[in-house]
């Protein structure tokens, strides 16, 4: 009953709306696409000319992760599919899944068959598939249909003999086909990975996706977070929500907060992941500066230091009074191993007992120091401190074993 009541609440609705917006790349990237200098319009121009002027093209979309390469591409594709129905077929491949040439060609053939309602055979060989692809490229070209190949994680295709890329790009320069190959990669040097013949056939169009400027960021925040006036949410609530939001955004502290947040990663994807919205208090019903602060602090957690503090719970569970009991220590040691704060030096000696295998410390002494300052009592901390003393004595470091640690600890 209570839940039903809550559903009525405008704040609930607003939250839902904001959440759905944050999950929808189309909405996020729409406002950034209007200017003629934006990647959106450039990309759209390139693809649409190849649709209307019947030419082949190849483009690379480069940029760090989270800069919206695929999102913009999808936006362009959905627009073009609307604009030119029936003449565009999109083949999507992902380097992580189809980096093997054979499997990539099979996938292309499968998607082409799906698209044109043809029968697909799983057992077709590499040759069959590649000839089928070329035949389809030709037929589609003759029928004024454009095939768009989207190769996500393009760098994985640029491995080995690069047969797939070669046959794709070679087909584009010999038969009268009409296709666009779009590579998406976060590696900036991906065109250097191409083999020389493939590189020669590649058209070297590149679109670079960069982070937005500071002003854009603010505009963008406002665009996402402010509620639309014409929706089912009550007018007065919307007005107040937007008013408060404006106040927050214009606040100096908020600007500082955002700068700190973005100092780490300056992309839109990162900005969207700023979870301030999920900290919104439904009872208050409005976003507040506090929400943003909590979100920021939750983002800046130093996980390793938190790991160190976890010993307490291990100790509690073993129920001994001795803080340094051997079994507790061992468990703590295993815990550290699992958390990969320490790791075995080599892969040898699997049959040996854990206690006798040499380990190395993966966190630096400064970090350790910081961690130790926050908690004094825990044995693993001591254990690590012991390790640290060893660290300062580098010759001994490589021989660090649990046995050794025990001795140092006691």
């Amino acid at each position: 009953m209570g839940r039903e009541k809550e559903k009525e609440k405008p704040s609930e609705k607003a939250l839902n709306l904001l959440r759905s917006r944050l999950a929808d790349p189309n909405f996020i990237f729409k406002p950034l696409s209007d200017s003629p200098d934006s990647n959106y319009s450039k990309l759209k121009f390139i693809i649409s000319t190849s649709v209307t002027e019947a030419c082949n093209n190849s483009i690379l979309l480069l940029g760090p992760r989270g800069s919206g390469k695929v999102a913009v591409l999808e936006l362009v594709l959905s627009d073009l599919l609307q604009q030119y129905p029936d003449v565009i077929s999109v083949i999507r491949l992902n380097g992580l899944l189809h980096s093997d040439d054979n499997c990539a060609l099979k996938e292309i053939a499968r998607q082409l068959c799906m698209e044109h309602q043809l029968l697909f055979s799983k057992v077709a060989s590499f040759d069959d598939n590649s000839q089928f692809m070329i035949a389809m490229l030709r037929e589609c070209g003759l029928a004024h249909k454009t095939i768009i190949f989207v190769l996500d994680e393009f760098d994985f295709f640029a491995q080995g003999k690069q047969r797939l890329l070669y046959s794709l790009l070679d087909a584009m320069q010999s038969v009268n086909s009409q296709s666009v190959v779009i590579g998406v990669s976060c590696r900036l040097d991906v065109d250097q990975l191409l083999e020389k013949r493939v590189r020669s056939r590649f058209s070297h169009r590149k679109l670079l996706f960069l982070s937005p400027s500071k002003e854009d960021t603010e505009r963008f925040m406002e665009h996402i977070l402010s509620l639309p006036v014409d929706s089912s949410i009550p007018q007065n609530y919307t007005a107040e929500f937007n008013g408060r939001l404006k106040k927050i955004i214009s606040d100096e502290r908020f600007k500082e907060l955002i700068t700190t947040y973005l100092s780490f990663n300056f992309t839109i994807g990162h900005l969207v992941r700023f979870q301030a919205v999920s900290y919104m208090d439904l009872d208050v019903g409005f976003l507040s500066l506090e929400n943003f602060k909590t979100a920021l602090s939750s983002n800046q957690r130093q996980s390793k230091l938190e790991c160190i503090r976890e010993y307490k719970s291990i100790h509690d569970s073993s129920q001994t009074s001795d803080n340094y009991a051997a079994n507790v220590c061992l468990r703590a040691f295993e815990h550290l191993l699992q958390r990969q704060l320490i790791s075995f030096i080599d892969n040898k000696g699997h049959n040996q007992s854990v206690e006798f295998r040499p380990v190395k410390l993966l966190i630096s002494s400064a970090e350790l120091h910081q961690g130790l300052k926050s908690s004094h009592q825990c044995p693993p901390v001591t254990m690590l401190r012991a390790a640290r003393t060893h660290l300062e004595n580098p010759s001994a470091f490589w021989l660090l074993t649990p046995q050794h640690l025990y001795s140092v600890m006691h």
């Binding site: 760090p64 044109h116 029928a143 004024h144 700190t260």
Partner: protein, 911 residues
Amino acid sequence: MPMETPRKAVQSPKKRKQSPNNDKSKQPVSLSIHLFPQTPQPPLRRSSRRSLHPFASKTIDQIPDLNRPTEAAEAIEKCNVKSVNTPKKHSKGTLNEEDSEIPELSKLGKRNEEAETTFSPVSPEASESKKRKRGSSKEESVKRLRILKCKLNTEDEEIPELGTLDEGNDEVAATFSPVLPAAAEMKKRKKGQEKGVATRAMSTMSSKKSMEGEKKKKKRVYYKKVVYDGGEFEVGDDVYLKKREDASSDDEVPEMEECRVCFKAGRGVMIECDDCLGGFHLKCLKPPLKEVPEGDWVCGFCQARKLGKNIEFPKPPVGKKRARTLREKLLAGDLWAVRIESLWKEVDGSYWFRGRWYKIPEETASGRQPHNLRRELYRTNDFADTEMESIIRHCNVMSPKEYAKATDEGDDVFLCEYEYDIQWHSFKRLAEIDDDDEADGECASSDEDWNACKEADSDTDEDMEYEEENARNAQARPSTTNQLAANSRKGRFFGLQKVGTKKIPEHVRCHKQTDLERAKATLLLATLPKFLPCRNKEMEEIATFIKGAICDDQCLGRCLYIHGVPGTGKTMSVLAVMKNIKSEVDAGSIRPYCFVEVNGLKLAAPENIYTVIYEALTGHRVSWKNALQLLNERFSDGKKMAKEDDRPCILLIDELDLLVTRNQSVLYNILDWPTKPNSKLIVIGIANTMDLPEKLLPRISSRMGIQRLCFGPYNYQQLQEIISSRLKGLDAFEKQAVEFASRKVAAISGDARRALEICRRAAEIADYHVKSQISTATSSKGKELVTMADVDAAIQEMFQAPHVQVMKNCSKLSKIFLTAMVYELYKTGMGETTFEKLATTVSCICTSNGEAFPGWDTLLKVGCQLGECRIIVCEAGDRHRLQKLQLNFPSDDVAFALKDSKDLPWLAKYL
């Protein structure tokens, strides 16, 4: 020659009729279909066309030629054979005796009709109306009676064959025989069924033909060119075809179109309206024109109509009907156009051809689309055999390119850009470079059954006999009985004909290309230039090599190794040479050869090359081991598999280096064959590396490395020539812009592809600017040229690595991180550093400049992000403190990018 004579005999009586029948032309299309009793149904194409029965008149017509006794005897014998033959043929086609009479009947019917119109004393209009009346009402009732009658006098059947020695007589006789057109119509349908049989028979025949070519007797004789009725008809010609058998008699075809205003032909220059295609005398226009204007011209009537006025064309003077030209009739659907695919003489001496129909836009499923041109036709994938008698005369169906060039080919010029699939109702562009061999080869294998199936599909109103034929055909039908996957190729891909647009998209046709767009199109890598500049020497060398190898009587195998960096025209040159040689083969100056092209990078494994070669040579697919054995037999042991194997074989292997295996056996085998005495194999290998032969085993390099040809990188003049030869006639580029691009590329790689792509990209950039200007409506109309700035932008995009921009734009921490890396590098002089050292440096830098140190975890993440972009190279993040890091770009780049960053000015200290 005999082929002309009979036609004339037939022709003469028809000529007589032509004048009275002229009036038919003025009838509206829809009416004409229903009103003439011959075709009360919507046109059943094949059946009605077939209804011109071959033998009745034909065989007899040869009799006047009696002066040569042997021929006459033969003719008579043929007559007899024919008359005996027909029933046999029918029985094969599961038609019964009754049907066998019907062809004769149809003849009668036709004759009768003709005669009626000819000799009836009434005026043409009167006869017309009479026929009209008769059309539907009497038809049904009379039909049965007619058939019965015909069956009764079986002797009648012989009348056309024996009793009549001249045409006139025949007609007179026919006049009195009371057969009505209705009966004729009915027979025609039956004919349609018969036809299925004929095609089947023919298909088997033609397939056998190659094997038993010697057995001439009662065999079809195929021709390339036939002189028929005074016209020369060649395979590949386009002709008008009568839709009904009386179509030719229907009127006199005016050679000259009449003016739409004064209704007189000739007399002065005429101009054609681009909209209604009507012809006008220049001086009949208001105001009169002095000369034919450039570009499109639309007549005043059409203009008025477009403005919404209701204007009628001037009516012809009373008593004079406006004669329609064949073109008008075709576009109105009263005629057909076909392309002759093959010509032959039947056993009985009649001439037949297999035609490929053209369709007018109205006949397609999507109807006339707004962008269809007036004179546009579609080529279909529909074939039918027709007697040559129904040909009216030549017409001219052209590709858009030819059409644009055509100036005064006359009225019978049509445009055909698309092929229409009558089964799927879809359109496909005709391939520009018409690879006829391929298409024909495919046709030859599949046509017959294909056609037969389609008939089954379209002629649903056929009767029982045909059903059986269907059942037989069904097995050959790929689509229904056993569906085959599209991508697994057992001979060919299935279902590809499904691919096609339902409608031709408007943007393709209605768009007028600007100069920039045209420039972009010609700069495409896919557009083949007409000639290849700058490679004359190399091409000559290749040509002499190949010709020397082929024309050598011994035809000892040879091997040529071509090397050069990518984009220097190696493959293109070889293919161009092969094309030239092929045209010489066609001309007959060189003996035929076979050409196999293999690309090493497109093979799944090097061994597959055997399969590919064997398939290309014989058309069979076998496993590579089998193929190797067979090829060995052929090339080494000189065992010939078929007759054509005697031809020399040219094998072009692109990307030869991909065939190198561990023990190099593939290359060895291939290069060993040419050395065998009877191999007649010529291998041309193409690769990038100059010293590939030296890298191989000595036994291979001694076989391959003898004759080499080097394709050097292009220098800037050559690149410039290549680009400007493509841009000839287009005013799209500034002269310096082309030179700039070619100099730049020549300095870097000399790759022609790269140069073309730069220019294309530059044109694209310019085009983009133009178009975005137009959209913002602040266009300054002027000649848009690709400027230096555009080329520069394209070059920047192509050659400049994007890392500087990314570094400039990255987050604050990343900048600090990179600075620390550079600092560390300066300090230690070591390229590689660990995360621990770096973190201390970062914390030092941060504290001394009043920045908050973000913590190790965050820093690690930052490092990994930079690693993902490959600005730095780093190990996986789970090595934490021990992670090794290294800059991926020179530290100068980092310094350049970060020196003047606005938010962190102190970075410059450390760089």
